[in-house]
């Protein structure tokens, strides 16, 4: 390959960065940084709102196909304009607020939820040199902002003055706080390995190759376990099936947003999906090499495409799981968090330390895998043993 080709590839990769520079370079110097930030914010809001729209169609079509139905196929080509129709519908619907509700809090809750969800995108590198702010405590900022979601959810549940929404809010708080612990602990292994809280430098560390193989953290025992634990916790954190108890529509109908209608309901939906994207994007950043290509010979594909490809892949897995699994119960959910997730994440920290201090080689792999698998089996046994869950055999009467 010639140098010019490399330059061309690089130009395509950096097209958004350079065009942003060009756009703001004409402005006076004191406005340059703020206008470039505003441009990035607009880009993030537009791109992820569009991704939300696409995801709703994909989810409905994917679920439909899993259930042997067509899914939406009436609006536009193959039903891909369905989100537009849904948006128009939710905008034109009557916005009902219960008379006894706390009007202000009831109004603020969905706004706060969407805002909190969008704030998290500030530190997520969606491509090479494509991050809104490169905070040196980016991961910390991400989890801090993520906790705002709990506040929004509780505001919604409490202000609606509905018993179901109160139950839903209680469930949501209990669940989100419990799963935040393993979520953070699972990501600490990466911070230990990378030695940095900055999302950009974490991705940079993974964006190199041995031969054709990348240095993603998921390709180590502790990284894989960390990724699995992170994804489970992320499912619970974003209220997705099988951990969708706060909204469990068959039990407490819609949980905390039972009293929301019209566009506020759509905002809740948006906030929930944005939260799911953000945690998935964080998982990609921490474990799946962020915007880095999976093989060294594929680096010519622009980095942002890789990032979104990985994100869509994770979303599809979320949809697949939603189409298959029934929901857990509250007590089972909590015991899973504290009796399985927490010990496993703590153990994973230990394993990451062992990995760091052992010499490289096959022994290190075997020791670390053994250290992870054996306790996982033991823990899952102990989770089951009290209840004796088993496939049963039945007798027949003539």
């Amino acid at each position: 390959m010639t140098l010019s080709m490399f330059q061309a590839i690089d130009q395509i990769d950096q097209i958004f960065v350079t065009s942003q520079h060009r756009l703001v370079s004409d402005l006076p110097a004191e406005f340059q940084s703020i206008s470039s930030a505003i441009l990035s914010v607009i880009a993030i809001v537009l791109v992820f709102a569009l991704l939300f729209a696409i995801t709703t169609v994909l989810e409905r079509k994917g679920l439909g196909r899993m259930q042997n139905r067509y899914g939406p196929n009436r609006v536009g080509p193959c039903g891909f304009f369905q989100p537009l129709a849904d948006g128009v519908k939710s905008l034109t619907k009557e916005d009902l607020v219960p008379r006894t509700a706390d009007q202000l809090v009831h109004f603020l809750a969905p706004v706060l939820l969407v805002m909190a969800a969008f704030l998290a995108y500030a530190v997520l590198p969606v491509g090479r040199n494509m991050v809104l702010v490169n905070l040196n405590a980016g991961v910390l900022y991400f989890f801090a902002v993520g906790s705002l979601v709990e506040l929004a959810v509780f505001m919604a549940g409490w202000s609606s003055r509905n018993k179901y929404s109160l139950l839903g809010a209680m469930r949501a708080i209990a669940q989100m706080i419990s799963y935040e612990v393993p979520l953070v602990l699972a990501s600490i292994v990466v911070i230990m390995a990378a030695g940095s809280l900055s999302t950009v430098s974490i991705v940079d560390m993974q964006a190199s190759y041995t031969g054709i193989w990348p240095h993603w953290f998921v390709f180590t025992p502790w990284g894989f376990a960390g990724f699995a634990l992170f994804m489970i916790a992320a499912t619970a954190e974003s209220n997705r099936s099988p951990f969708d108890l706060p909204e469990g529509e068959s039990e407490i109908i819609a949980g905390y947003y039972i009293e929301y209608s019209g566009f506020k309901f759509a905002l809740f939906f948006l906030g929930e999906y944005l939260g799911m994207f953000a945690t998935s994007a964080m998982a990609i950043t921490l474990f799946l090499g962020g915007w880095a290509a999976p093989f060294s010979f594929l680096t010519w594909i622009p980095s942002y495409l890789w990032f979104f490809a990985k994100l869509v892949l994770l979303i599809l897995i979320f949809i697949w799981i939603r189409g298959t699994l029934p929901r857990l119960r509250m007590d089972q959910l909590m015991s899973f968090a504290w009796q399985f997730m927490l010990p496993m994440t703590l153990l994973n920290l230990f394993v990451a330390g062992v990995w760091h201090f052992m010499p490289a080689g096959i022994v290190r792999w075997l020791v670390c895998i053994a250290l992870l698998v054996a306790p996982a089996i033991l823990l899952s046994r102990s989770l089951k043993q009290g209840k004796k869950f088993a496939v049963r055999h039945y007798r027949f009467a003539e």
Binding site: T100, N162, L167, S241, I253, Q332, E398
Partner: protein, 385 residues
Amino acid sequence: MSTATEAIRIIPKSPGANDEGQWLEVSMGPQHPSTHGVFRMDVVLDGERIVKLKPVFGYLHRNHEKIAENESYLGSMPYTDRLDYFCSLTNNWAYALAVEKLAGIQVPERAEYIRIITAELTRFQNHACLIGFLTQDMGASGTPLMYAFREREKILDLFESLTGARMMCNYMRFGGCRVDLPAGWIEQARAAVASFPRFLDEFEQLLASNEILMARTQGVGVLSKEFAVNAGVSGPVLRASGVNYDVRKADKYGIYDRFAFKIPLGEHGDTYDRYMVRLLEMRESLKILELALRDIPAGPIVDPKTKIRGFRPKPGEAYAHIEAPKGDLGFYLISDGSSNPYRYRVRPPSLVNLTVLEELCIGHNVADVVVILGSIDIVMGEVDR
């Protein structure tokens, strides 16, 4: 007190109650997505644990029995479709059986076979959909339900080509059936029945060993043998508690004694047993269906002596019951010799099975209530009548 807490009615602590906090009374239903119709439960919660549960029904009361007393015997037949609207053909059969007993009518051989085929198809689709609803109540976003509906479609197509309607069949008549099987029906039915084992395997693959399903159902809503018998529970709910009682075996109505089939029995009486007993019963139904579709003889489908117009049985009374998919469905009739029954009474299995709901739910979570209710398998059309 803040304004937000006023909205929530706090029940004063009853004297002697050993609860730590305050109780919350929630009205689940009648507009609740998983109460299987317009059913309401007054639930008293301690946190999420059920302290008290009062079933409230009657929202779908349609005066079925009184209407039937002012209707000719034949005129009540389409109303029986609407009792358990999922299984109209078994309702038809139970009512026809009661009238046949009352008037002493014989049913021709072919009609008996058709009745068994349609009843077992009804049982199959009811159980399949029930399992779908049950998992839907557990939050499985409808996947098993849609698979069940896909198979049910085949059965409903069969019903439609036979009776003209998919759900409100109105097919059985006193002394037989209304119309003969259309050409090609048996072949279509055989093909459908042959495709069902694959569907059951799929169901088992999807759910039977699923850890979440087991965790949600095993040990939940245990109904003891003694209590089940004392409460008069019947059908799969009773058999899941380990009581060997199936009207098909106990009474041998129709020609069920000619078919070899077994009755699956549960041991623990919990929700998982109720679920599995139904799954196994579906396999037994398939056995009956295969035999019946093989052996069905030619001949008349209705006793030629029964009159359509001006049917007046002799004064007397009769009670007939059958094993409907939901349980023991009985009809009791008193005739005074006129064209209307003097007394008409239905023994709906759903209503009787529903009486144990509170017993099963107390001490469990809100999430378990909908699962237990789903496993009891009620249809409000039958409960409220």
